[in-house]
Symmetry: C2
């Protein structure tokens, strides 16, 4: 089982099929199925416009932290609905939640987003080797 | 209407609510609703493990380009199913498609993934200002 850094592995040649395919060879390792599931899970959390806005609004707050009481008005949704979306972002490892008295406070997990950013940027680093 | 680079705008203070909320202020602009829809659309394309693998496999090919004939075996799916997934990646602006004789060839769009990477990395750049 590899980690989510599998896409960032150094380039190496892996045959794409046993039949000696028609096309260009692989020049580095692609994401294995388990890694792809983990990556897709995080992207799924970001596949909803409301959750993108909520993450963005939390990140835009001073210190990258926001009270749930400040998040309902900007997205125009009820607190239970907003809390549901925030829960999915927490489960994806993009936010953390801390209860303080009456309110839940949400913080961006910088490392998680950075890793996704590096992953995506790395995927684009395709250089012809021939 | 802003572009998908809205999250990368320079920090500035925007009130989060008209009621003078309880919590920390915004220190930069959050993604507006239209931008969030556009971002979520791209993430939706990446919210499926098969599509993550296909994008990764295309990117891992020499020159960042692969024939559809080389993509069915690694993911263990029929060509129509693979073509459907690839179509969604093309529609999201992550791949381009070129027909050459019998086969379709898919290439990674480096700029699109880089923009997502920058966007995500930027979202994490939350610095306390007080």
């Amino acid at each position: 089982m590899t980690t989510t850094l599998a896409l960032a592995d150094p380039p190496r040649t892996i045959p794409v099929s046993a039949s000696g395919a028609c096309c260009a060879p692989l020049v580095r390792e692609a994401a294995d199925p388990q890694t792809a599931i983990e990556i897709a899970h995080v992207f799924k959390a970001l596949s909803d416009p409301t959750r993108v806005r909520l993450l963005s609004i939390v990140a835009a707050h001073d210190g990258g932290e926001a009270c749930v009481c400040d998040l309902t008005e900007p997205v125009g949704l009820s607190q239970p609905t907003v809390s549901h979306h925030l829960k999915l972002l927490v489960e994806a490892g993009l936010l953390t939640r801390e209860q303080r008295g009456k309110w839940g406070y949400y913080s961006v997990v910088p490392g998680a987003l950075n890793r996704l950013g590096v992953l995506l940027t790395d995927v684009t680093a395709t250089e012809p080797t021939s």
